[in-house]
């Protein structure tokens, strides 16, 4: 491609879904670096159970887009071993719920390689998997263990909430020399947004983003919670004329506390939201950090909203009531603003 064409491409963006943005990052990295390969259940012939990898097997062949048996422990561990020898495996786990059977390889192997061996060998492994609930998938299939991984030294954890970050963070993860868990999200896959086409576009790991500017309250979250927060912000602007700032964390480890603290120092009120259970969850860490860093700035306690603390029931009505839906987030926001 000519330098001019490249320059144009570098500046161009295109509207696409979160799913397409992930696929674009994968195909660009597969094309750029032979060490990159994709491995997981149904990623090839089936086109991916959520179609993220659709078409990639035709484009890159079965060696680089590897269908695996249902053996998460073995192929996550195979990713660890391949990465230790310099490959760049991108392992797909259908949903984060199934990482439970491979927990030992993620926590006690991938995360340990760097430090336990004194920096003698690295593990540039990427694991991609969606969290979330909301389609009546029920108790065993509707969880978000994000905080468990974010609390594990040796791992890096990112969770894109927009198509642009889906591309930018996945690219950054594949190029990173450490194990990175990329937490995607089921409801967001179909969300559309502007995505930079520049193959060199990356979203830096460890940098949060102000998704919406506001002055009265900061809502902090990651993944789908950000989409909900933006909706609630609009709603409250109309209904109560309040100005809500929304911080999209983008990374959970490293966690960009500075951006959160700068925001809360201006708004003096914070509401932390997550799709998973809040007790002992991601929002617990956020609240703990904010109360310490913003002790003198806070006009109200840091509030949290998460999924109702029960194994998610199947019935639509029960499920909806259990989710951190927009009504519950709005109510929590008003309570934090003293407007409840």
């Amino acid at each position: 491609m000519s330098a001019v064409a490249e320059a144009q491409l570098a500046s161009r963006t295109e509207v696409m879904t979160y799913r397409e943005a992930l696929r674009l990052a994968l195909s660009e990295e597969l094309a750029r670096d032979d060490r990159v390969f994709v491995m997981g259940e149904e990623v090839g012939q089936f086109d991916g159970s959520y179609k993220v990898t659709a078409g990639l097997m035709d484009a890159f062949g079965p060696d680089r887009i590897r269908d695996t048996p249902i053996s998460e422990e073995a192929f996550v561990g195979a990713g660890v071993g391949a990465a230790m020898l310099g490959e760049r495996p991108v392992v797909e786990i259908m949903t984060i719920n199934f990482l439970l059977v491979a927990m030992d390889q993620v926590i006690n192997h991938a995360a340990k390689v760097g430090a336990m061996f004194g920096g003698e060998v690295r593990c540039p492994l990427v694991i991609r998997t969606p969290n979330g609930a909301g389609n009546q998938l029920t108790a065993q299939h509707s969880q978000s263990f994000d905080g468990w991984f974010a609390g594990t030294p040796g791992l890096k954890v990112v969770a894109p909430a927009s198509p642009a970050d889906a591309k930018g963070l996945l690219t950054a993860a594949i190029r990173d020399d450490d194990p990175v868990l990329v937490i995607e999200n089921l409801p967001i896959y179909k969300q559309k947004g502007e995505v930079p086409l520049d193959p060199e576009f990356v979203t830096p790991i460890g940098r949060a983003r102000i998704a919406r500017h506001g002055t009265d309250l900061t809502i902090v979250g990651h993944s789908y919670a950000v989409v909900r927060a933006l909706e609630v912000a609009d709603r409250l602007a109309e209904s109560h004329g309040v100005s809500v700032e929304v911080v999209d964390l983008r990374s959970l480890r490293p966690l960009d506390v500075e951006t959160v603290v700068e925001s809360v120092a201006r708004t003096n009120r914070a509401l932390c939201v997550e799709e998973g259970w809040a007790s002992y969850g991601v929002t617990a860490e956020l609240a703990a950090r904010i109360q310490k860093a913003c002790f003198d700035e806070l006009d109200a306690p840091v509030e949290r909203v998460g999924m109702a603390e029960v194994p998610l029931p199947y019935a639509k009505g029960l499920e909806h009531a259990a989710m951190p839906n927009e009504d519950r987030i709005a109510a929590a926001a008003l309570a934090t603003l003293g407007l409840a």
Partner: protein
């Protein structure tokens, strides 16, 4: 391939007719479930077993009243064959209070403790250790019963399979692992997933009996399941029974099921439909066409009645969101957890009258 030969005489015409009713009920129920799913009255994952009825119904028939059953998520047929009323099953799929799991579990998590059915589980092979534990409990309680544990051909590559088989063999537990080999795990054929595609052979790794049968031949299924369950009950000999069958529909209602197989392949298998086979056998044995049509109509009516029942059943009370999570009396233990709770948590209650 160690295919046990059919022992047709073992299934009397009366019994065959009974099992035919059960097979038809399963087929009709699932056909209706797919319709209702598309009408958005059923949500989540919904895995159909159309084409697998001979395996399902034959294996369940081999169970005694006090035997136990554990399955994966493809459990409609097993539940119905075990005697779960279509009403309770359909109401569960609809997420209603009168469902067999009170609307908490849905399609993947049917159960009926009174009939010894300890669930429908959703994690591939996750039900195997549980089934092994049920078998251990039977032994500890001195009950000479057995556990039938269903799993798929894809599940045999999970570590839980290996660990459970070794434990069952080492401790002589009365459990029969029924591998429903419908030739695919989602879009992956057995050959693409298993280095040893004759899955029954893996039992030998634990000095356990294994065999493979034609899962579409009702007589063969009944004979083998009865024999292996008896050995489990009477001699505490666990076993692997691999039943080769075929799934007509996609992996779940959401999957068209055509990226990994051809329409022709499906058509070929449907030409050998196990229900049609049994129907033909019944005609041979002297039943009249209209008697069999009457059975089919009756199944249709039972399923329609189940739909009516499900529609009439109330949605679960949102106040009972956490019902069943903890045993009665637990609220007291949680009473002091309220201060500083995440927004709304204080309201959660779970000492409820549902279930046991």
């Amino acid at each position: 391939m160690a295919v046990t030969q059919a022992a047709t005489e073992r299934v009397s015409p009366e019994l065959r007719r009974e099992l035919y009713e059960s097979m038809v009920l399963s087929r009709v129920f699932e056909t209706e479930a797919e319709r209702q799913y598309k009408a958005a009255r059923i949500g989540g994952y919904c895995h159909l077993s159309s084409g697998q009825e001979a395996t399902t119904v034959g294996a369940i028939h081999a169970l005694e009243a006090d035997d136990l059953l554990v399955t994966g998520y493809r459990c409609h047929g097993f539940a119905l064959a075990r005697g779960v009323p279509p009403e309770a099953a359909m109401a569960e799929l609809f997420g209603r209070a009168d469902g067999c799991a009170h609307g908490r579990g849905g399609s993947m998590h049917l159960l009926d403790v009174e009939r010894g059915f300890y669930g429908g589980w959703g994690i591939v092979a996750g039900q195997l250790p549980v089934a092994t534990g049920l078998a251990l409990a039977l032994v500890r309680q001195g009950r000479s019963q057995a556990v039938l544990c269903e799993l798929g051909d894809g599940a045999v590559n999970m570590g839980a399979w290996h660990e459970s088989l070794n434990l069952a063999a080492l401790w002589h537990l009365p459990v029969v692992f029924l591998v429903v080999n419908n030739e695919y795990g989602m879009g992956t054929s057995v050959a693409r997933a298993s280095a040893e595609p004759e899955l029954w052979r893996r039992a030998a790794a634990h000095r356990m009996h294994g065999e493979r049968i034609d899962g579409d031949d009702l007589d063969v299924v009944v004979e083998a399941a009865e024999r292996l369950l008896r050995a489990a009950r009477e001699e505490r000999r666990p076993a692997v029974l691999e039943a080769v069958t075929y799934r007509y529909r996609g992996h779940s209602v959401a999957d068209a099921g055509l990226t990994y197989r051809t329409k022709d392949e499906i058509a070929e298998r449907q030409a050998l439909d196990p229900i049609a086979r049994v129907r033909a056998q019944l005609l041979e044995s002297g039943l009249a066409d209209d008697e069999l049509d009457a059975i089919d109509d009756d199944a249709e009516q039972r399923v329609q009645a189940a739909v009516k029942y499900a529609l009439a059943s109330p949605e679960p009370n949102v106040g009972d969101l956490a019902a069943g999570m903890h045993a009665a009396g637990s609220m007291k233990q949680f009473a002091r957890m309220r201060p500083g709770s995440p927004f709304g948590e204080e309201e959660l209650t779970f000492d409820s009258g549902l279930g046991a």
